[in-house]
């Protein structure tokens, strides 16, 4: 089932994801060209939540593979359940060896890992390969192969073709340069920090109890904080934390409680230097500029 661009935009909004205009195009292209989508952007701009929103757009399951250094096939694709196999060998001791072998290399003893699980769903799921830049280069090459063939060969069992082709989303934080081959295989989308208007809408959509004027104030404040020279620039996730804290403390207007604003700034600032830089004076100066 292919969705039109407007349908996608509407469904993204329903899923609580306030997308910039171009993301709907990207999702449309993913369907049309059957390509994976590579998302890049600063930490905390909502790359992972795109995949979550996408899953609810297609009303399907989200399968997530978190990449890390040293991730290998047995953690990403499949593995035999060795303990059960050993048990079975012990239990059937004395029987025909070939029979035992057939038994212990059957599907019952196969552990599905995310990549194998993703191609064996009856309904195409969203496969999120998170922070692919953290995985090793060898894994990247292996991933390329899977993304082009969508079939897995298991020596003991034979080739397992895909039942459905998943919607693949890859995210990268830029800790390592990805290979050109992988980049070329994917559609590319760069997510920037949202502008004030969009960020305010995100706050309103995610935090129940955040009024329009407060959301706008928070968004403006965060925007000006991002312009300060900080080591860790606060992302959307941090903004949402902060908004939740302020709403929880029953703040209606930032100007009414500058002291609380300063105290709750911990939600946004994640290093000691940044905390030291955002003094009371700086905070109140920024606050004064927020209308």
């Amino acid at each position: 089932m292919t969705l039109s661009r407007d349908q996608i935009a509407a469904r993204l909004a329903d899923a609580g994801y306030i997308a910039d205009g171009e993301l709907a195009t990207a999702v449309g292209l993913m369907q049309l060209l059957k390509r994976a989508l590579l998302l890049e952007g600063e930490a905390g701009v909502g790359k992972t939540s795109v995949a979550q929103a996408l899953a609810s757009v297609h009303a399907t399951e989200l399968i997530r593979l978190q990449c890390y250094e040293g991730l290998d096939q047995s953690a990403a694709l499949y593995e035999w359940n060795y303990q059960r196999q050993l048990l079975a060998i012990q239990a059937h001791r004395g029987k025909d060896a070939a029979e035992i072998e057939d038994q212990i290399f059957s599907e019952k003893y196969l552990l599905e890992r995310p990549l194998l699980a993703a191609i064996r769903q009856p309904k195409p799921p969203v496969l999120l390969i998170d922070e692919v830049d953290r995985a090793d280069e060898e894994f990247e090459a292996f991933l390329l192969e899977l993304l082009s063939d969508f079939q897995v060969s298991i020596p003991e069992l034979g080739t397992i073709p895909a039942i459905s082709i998943p919607h693949v989303v890859l995210t990268s934080n830029g800790t390592r340069e990805l290979s050109d081959a992988l980049r070329r295989r994917c559609l590319y989308h760069y997510i920037d920090y949202p502008d004030v208007d969009r960020e305010a809408r995100i706050i309103m959509a995610r935090i129940s109890g955040a009024g329009a004027s407060l959301s706008l104030q928070i968004a403006r404040m965060v925007e000006s904080i991002r312009k300060e020279e900080l080591r860790k620039v606060p992302g959307v996730a941090e903004t949402l934390d902060w908004a939740a804290a302020l709403v929880g403390l029953d703040i209606r207007d930032l100007h009414e409680a500058p002291e609380t604003v300063y105290d709750t700034m911990t939600c946004l600032l994640k290093t000691r230097e940044d905390k030291a830089r955002m003094t009371r004076e700086v905070t109140s100066r920024l606050l004064a500029k927020v209308a």
Partner: protein, 400 residues
């Protein structure tokens, strides 16, 4: 399209031929601007047009942007290129580069004339496949040693790098350095033999042949990262005598080290690893000359380091990275900024080595404001002005 009378087959054929010709031209433009687009992208683009994405320019632009971009730099310059090509708007600054790349790629008579105009009276040396000295003279000609605030917009000819024997020597030295730094790594590896955790799952799997009795144990081991060398080369006017030498060295470094990155800076910073990794040396130099716009002018080391710290450091620096800065330390920008950025860089990487060609001169003392501000954050401060002197650095670098 549905509103009009259906076009005849011939008309459709003509239209599609026209569209595909335009599309091919657009792909060529993209390639000239360093986009990695191939045949499959072309097919997909045609499929997009057929699927009705061409109804509105903004929609087509957005769709093409996703399809053709592969990295952030592509993403940011795409809109300008698209508008310039399809909508005939003014070309933005980045795409101007391609216009100047064309003459470098095919040295026609016209482009030679252009270069002659640009380079003033230096055409003679430009055309010569010259020896190192001649080229060095040409770049440093009539210029005082020291910082200058001016930006030199002429292209600097890096072809003086192309002498095979010198390239060979540079590679040999880089290879030796790479070996020195690597052997140290393995010795350390051996020294830390104990203290790894048991990997239960792998142990069982490896011992299936023994019926599951764990004979050989598999231990979880941390993957050792190889040492990465990041070279930042000052290509300003005051360094012009030495730029060629160090470029050869960088070429060797990129080839021999398992992980290495190279940057060139003057008034701005440019990431040159990709250009220098080009297998065909002539093409590598072409690409480099394109990037070296403004080389040979003033130096803003602080600002360049700031760009590096902000935009590249996260990607290229990991816990086992040595940053090598090759510069004379003549800063035309703010020396205090340089100090701050050096401090930030020192926190980030394992070691900073600063190689200064001026130090080889008799009676040189680090008096320039820039080098004074940077000195407290440097782990190794050493002279270097020729390939030989780089080779002499080996024992020092091994200690890093």
């Amino acid at each position: 399209m549905s509103c009009c009378t259906p076009p005849t087959l011939d008309e459709m054929d003509a239209v599609s031929r026209l569209v595909s010709a335009r599309l091919a031209a657009f792909l060529r433009t993209l390639r000239e601007n360093a986009f990695a687009v191939g045949l499959s992208e072309g097919h997909d683009a045609a499929a997009l047009i057929a699927a009705g994405y061409a109804d509105r320019p903004s929609l087509l632009r957005s769709a093409f942007k996703h399809l053709f971009s592969a990295r952030k730099s592509d993403w940011t310059k795409f809109d300008g290129l698209f508008d310039a090509f399809w909508l005939g708007k003014r070309v933005r600054s980045r795409s101007v580069l391609s216009g100047q790349a064309a003459p470098t790629n095919n040295p026609s008579l016209k482009s030679l004339q252009d270069r002659a105009l640009q380079a003033g009276g230096q055409t003679a040396t430009d055309q010569l496949p010259s020896s190192d000295e001649a080229a060095g003279d040409h770049a440093g000609e009539g210029r005082l040693e020291g910082a200058s605030r001016a930006e030199n917009l002429a292209e600097v000819d890096f072809r003086k790098m192309a002498d095979p024997s010198q390239i060979e020597e540079a590679h040999a030295i880089a290879a030796r350095l790479a070996r020195t730094l690597r052997t140290r790594l393995t010795r350390r590896d051996l020294a830390r033999r104990r203290g790894y955790r048991l990997d239960l799952r792998r142990t069982i799997r490896n011992n299936i042949s023994h019926g599951g009795v764990p004979f050989d144990l598999v231990k979880r081991r941390r993957k050792e990262k190889p040492l990465r060398l990041v070279v930042l080369l000052d290509a300003s006017g005051s360094m012009s005598l030495y730029t060629g030498v160090f470029l050869r060295f960088i070429h060797g470094v990129l080839d021999e080290f398992r992980e290495a990155e190279a940057f060139l800076f003057h008034t701005q910073l440019a990431h040159v690893s990709d250009a220098m990794k080009e297998k065909d040396p002539a093409r590598a130099l072409d690409r480099l000359s394109m990037m070296a716009q403004g080389a040979g002018g003033g130096t803003r080391i602080g600002a360049s380091l700031q760009t590096f710290n902000r935009g590249h450091a996260k990607r290229v620096i990991h816990s086992r990275t040595c940053v090598m800065i090759i510069s004379d330390g003549y800063e035309t920008g703010d020396a205090a900024l340089l100090g701050r950025e050096m401090a930030a860089l020192a926190k980030r990487c394992r070691r900073i080595a600063w190689l200064n060609p001026m130090m080889a001169w008799k009676g040189y003392a680090p008096e320039a404001a820039g080098i004074k501000a940077a000195l407290p954050h440097i782990d190794l401060y050493a002279p270097a002005n020729t390939l030989r002197s780089l080779a002499d650095l080996e024992p020092y670098l091994a200690k890093l």
